[in-house]
């Protein structure tokens, strides 16, 4: 490796050098760009809003195309997410666009869990990416990235304030995805009402600590326009795919008896601003933020949950290999311990039961010992009685014999007497 003795070349100081001519690495950005164009881009939009608020229409209007969409019914039991992917091309740029619709949002009577399917979907996409990234044999460069880059939150044009469902949902989503709130069906609000509505919404978001996406102001080329657009949030949009003739032009608009609301007229609604910000200026930044901020946060939380750390108590950085090895040892040790524990439990259970049974056995034994002793006692008594009886019998027999012997002797005497 690097020389151990002091050598100018072993320090990491960067020297600034000037070039004596055109070297040519200023083409590097072009090389990079042409690579990404060849690979194609992908962009994923999540539309969150009540049924019928105009999500599909807005998508059609934004991308100037009719995405197939059946109208959703109001009778869904719960919110579910419906992703659809389309291949679009504009000049030489290929875009793989995924639009995720939240079907049934806001329709249930109890909306406490409405946000959950949305959060789960976003997390699942992060998880899929993380799994791919952690694989041993992985192919990230042709992985179809499904992580949500932008969440368009559709606010109903009540003119008053945000609904509590809106606040709850946005609060749950703001750390996971870039949120741009938009006021849908803005053609139902007058200009003055709109102004008040926007202020109310923004102040509510701020007071509730909801972090919405801020258009970046650090790139000189777009600082100005982004800064001014930040002030127009939330965008009040109108969507339409119908064409109406206004003057001698045919524009996309909504025809009312009292006038024509032109979608691309900046004094009628903020549609153009939304399109400008979302697609033409900040699309790449949205992708970058998703990857560098939201995904990293998810990844960090997930890894910490699994017990991975960056440094051990002595502040020595772990190498991935060591971490995995340590994790693996821990894991295997854990499994073994569980097995051991279970065995131990069984052994002690067995011992316990054995002891119980032995106890019972002993009791039984004792009982029968006692009975046996009683029995012995009885037997002895019987024996005694028997002996007594035998003695008596013997005594009687002796007596009898004695008496008989006597009576035998007596008749002789009698005879003797008789003979005299």
């Amino acid at each position: 490796m690097a020389a151990t003795d002091v050598d100018i070349f072993s320090n990491e100081e960067k020297r600034n050098l000037s070039l004596g001519g055109h070297v040519g690495f200023d083409s590097l950005p072009d090389q990079l760009v042409s690579k990404s164009v060849t690979q194609g881009f992908c962009f994923n939009i999540l539309c969150v809003g009540e049924t019928g608020i105009g999500k599909s229409t807005l998508m059609n209007t934004l991308f100037n195309t009719m995405f197939e969409n059946e109208e959703a019914s109001h009778y869904q039991n719960s919110v579910y997410l419906r992703p659809r992917t389309y291949d679009l091309q504009e000049s030489n740029v290929h875009l793989k666009l995924t639009i995720v619709d939240t079907v049934g949002f806001g329709d249930q009577i109890n909306k406490e869990d409405s946000y959950k399917p949305i959060v789960d979907y976003i997390d699942t996409q992060f998880e899929n990416y993380l799994q791919e990234e952690l694989k041993i044999k992985r192919s990230l460069f042709n992985y179809h990235d499904t992580r949500i880059h932008i969440c368009l939150y559709f606010i109903a044009p009540t003119g008053h304030s945000l609904k509590s469902l809106d606040l709850v949902t946005m609060k749950k989503l703001d750390s996971k995805v870039n949120i741009i709130p938009i006021i849908a069906k803005a053609d139902t609000i007058s200009k003055s009402e709109l102004h008040k509505f926007k202020i109310k919404i923004m102040s509510e978001l701020v007071s509730n600590g909801v972090q919405i996406y801020q258009f970046p102001t650090d790139d000189d080329a777009v600082t100005e326009i982004n800064a001014s657009m930040n002030a127009h949030l939330p965008f009040a949009v109108v969507g339409s795919v119908d064409e109406v003739k206004v003057g001698n032009k045919t524009v996309r608009a909504r025809q009312y008896p009292w006038g024509v609301v032109q979608v691309e007229n900046e004094s009628h609604c903020d549609f153009v601003k939304l399109r400008e910000m979302l697609i033409r200026v900040n699309m790449e930044d949205l992708r970058e933020q998703t990857h560098a901020r939201h995904y990293e946060l998810y990844r960090r939380c997930k890894l910490e949950e699994m017990g991975f750390k960056d440094t051990d108590p002595d502040s020595q950085p772990f190498s991935l290999q060591e971490t995995y090895e340590a994790k693996r040892k821990e894991f295997l040790g854990d499994l073994q311990r569980k097995e051991e524990d279970m065995r131990q439990m069984f052994v002690s259970k067995v011992k316990e039961t054995e002891a119980e049974l032995k106890e019972k056995e002993r009791e039984l034994h004792d009982k029968f010992e006692q009975l046996k002793r009683l029995h012995q006692e009885e037997k002895r008594k019987v024996e005694e009685k028997r002996r007594d009886l035998e003695e008596e019998m013997n005594a009687f027999n002796r007596k009898k014999v004695a008496a008989e012997t006597l009576s035998l002797a007596q008749p002789l005497k009698k005879d003797k007497d008789k003979r005299k």
């Binding site: 050598d7 960067k14 050098l17 040519g24 389309y86 042709n142 910490e304």
Partner: protein, 436 residues
């Protein structure tokens, strides 16, 4: 993943699970601006590139680098590798920051003073391999941290290998080095000091080298296939002239009123940037102007991934059954552990159930035995009791008999006694009578 699979066709990627549809836009949307956004961001970020130069001393490496980048990277204050030879092969790097057209490039040049210069050059490639691996290791570690920040890319993106212009063929050291490094880094072999050979000699030499490279199955850097016909033509031209024969120079000479970089000889000037004199321009165009990004991509997607998968496979399957099929490698180690955990849980459940069963059975057995022995003892006790009772009764019977007999005999005796008494009384009477 092999070199050939680098470029995935649009068609392949389109056939994904989600069922995509091709849509035609009916008006200008604006995402065609996306490349510009990417351009701007990349310029803002700046670029990095690490170039390694390897070759024996005196082959003109420092001069070539200076010529390539039109700057005094190597100078009297920062001498080239040939002036810094130590006892063992070193791997040293220097970083320079250069700017051009608003584009900032952090260029790291890695050189290897002492390479191939000793008498015994066995293993002189080892420090090089170690250096490359350690850069991969650093990147892997920073990529695997829980808290990740912008990761600096210090991996070696390209290795220029300088071949001495012997005119005959590759030296054993050349072959050995390239064989050991071709799967770790993009190798671009160069013929150094090409101005010592005539064009014909050069042609021969190149053919010989390419033959030997193919013979030893050395994988040098391959140019990517493109759909663009123009580009493909250029690429083919480059491929025909591999390995590139280069000349470098730190001096500028006036030739025909033009100021050019070149080497002044009594017989003329060898111009560095003259395509007829050497392949320097091709090298510069290829290395810097057209394929720099691709070199970085191949390093990232092929060489680094190879390193990473080898490293992680060794870790994950260390100590575990090594007969696992290759298909296991497509899982992340964490998913692997998750699956093993699930397997283990079900195994434990089974074990638990089995143990329970055995336990229950044994307990039943024991209880049964206990019951049986209790019954047995009970039976015996009953029997003994009955025995005893029988004896009792027998005894009672005997006693009764005896009593009967006794009373009967006693009754008899009493009768007899009575008779005797009467008899004796009569006798007495008779006796009394007789006496008279």
């Amino acid at each position: 993943m092999s070199y050939g699979e680098r470029f995935v066709s649009e068609a392949d990627r389109n056939s994904s699970i989600m069922g995509e549809q091709q849509k035609n836009l009916e008006g200008y949307v604006g995402f065609a601006n996306l490349p510009n956004q990417v351009y701007r961001k990349s310029v803002k970020r700046g670029f990095e590139f690490t170039l390694m130069v390897v070759g024996e001393s005196g082959l003109g490496k420092s001069t070539l680098i200076n010529s390539l980048f039109l700057t005094d990277l190597y100078s009297p204050e920062y001498p080239g590798p040939s002036h810094r030879i130590k006892k063992t092969v070193q791997v040293e790097q220097s970083k320079v920051l250069v700017k051009e057209g608003g584009v900032q490039l952090l260029l790291t040049i890695v050189d290897t003073p002492g390479f191939g210069d000793a008498v015994d050059n066995s293993n002189c490639w080892q420090p090089v391999i170690d250096h490359i691996d350690s850069k991969f290791e650093d990147y892997l570690n920073s990529e695997s941290r829980v808290n990740r920040r912008q990761m600096p890319d210090n991996r070696v993106h390209c290795c220029l290998y300088f071949i001495a212009p012997s005119g005959h063929g590759l030296k054993p050291l050349d072959i050995e080095f390239m064989k050991r490094l071709h799967e770790k880094v993009n190798i671009i072999p160069l013929i150094a000091k090409a101005d010592t050979m005539t064009p014909e000699e050069c042609q021969q030499f190149k053919k010989q080298i390419m033959r030997e490279i193919q013979e030893h199955k050395i994988k040098i850097y391959e140019f990517p296939e493109t759909d663009d016909e123009e580009e493909m033509k250029l690429v083919k031209k480059i491929k025909d002239r591999l390995p590139l024969a280069v000349v470098g120079s730190n001096t500028i000479i006036e030739v025909n009123g033009k100021r050019v970089r070149g080497r002044q000889y009594p017989w003329g000037v060898a111009e560095v940037e003259n395509g007829d004199h050497c392949d320097f321009t091709i090298l510069r165009n290829m290395l810097i102007r057209t394929h720099m990004q691709d070199l970085k991509d191949v390093t990232n997607n092929v060489h680094y991934e190879n390193y990473r998968s080898r490293k992680l496979a060794a870790v994950t399957y260390n100590g575990v059954d090594n007969n696992k099929s290759k298909g296991q490698l497509t899982k992340s180690p964490l998913a692997q552990m998750e699956e093993e955990r699930r397997e283990h849980v079900s195994k434990m459940k089974k074990m638990e159930m089995e143990m329970e069963q055995v336990f229950e059975m044994k307990v039943k057995e024991k209880i049964q035995k206990l019951k049986d022995s209790e019954a047995e003892l009970q039976r015996r006790h009953e029997q003994m009791k009955r025995n005893l009772e029988a004896q009792h009764r027998e005894l009672e019977e005997k006693r009764r008999q005896h009593e009967d007999e006794k009373s009967h005999w006693e009754a008899q005796q009493r009768v007899l006694d009575q008779q005797k008494l009467e008899a004796s009384k009569t006798l007495e009477k008779n006796k009394k009578k007789k006496i008279f």
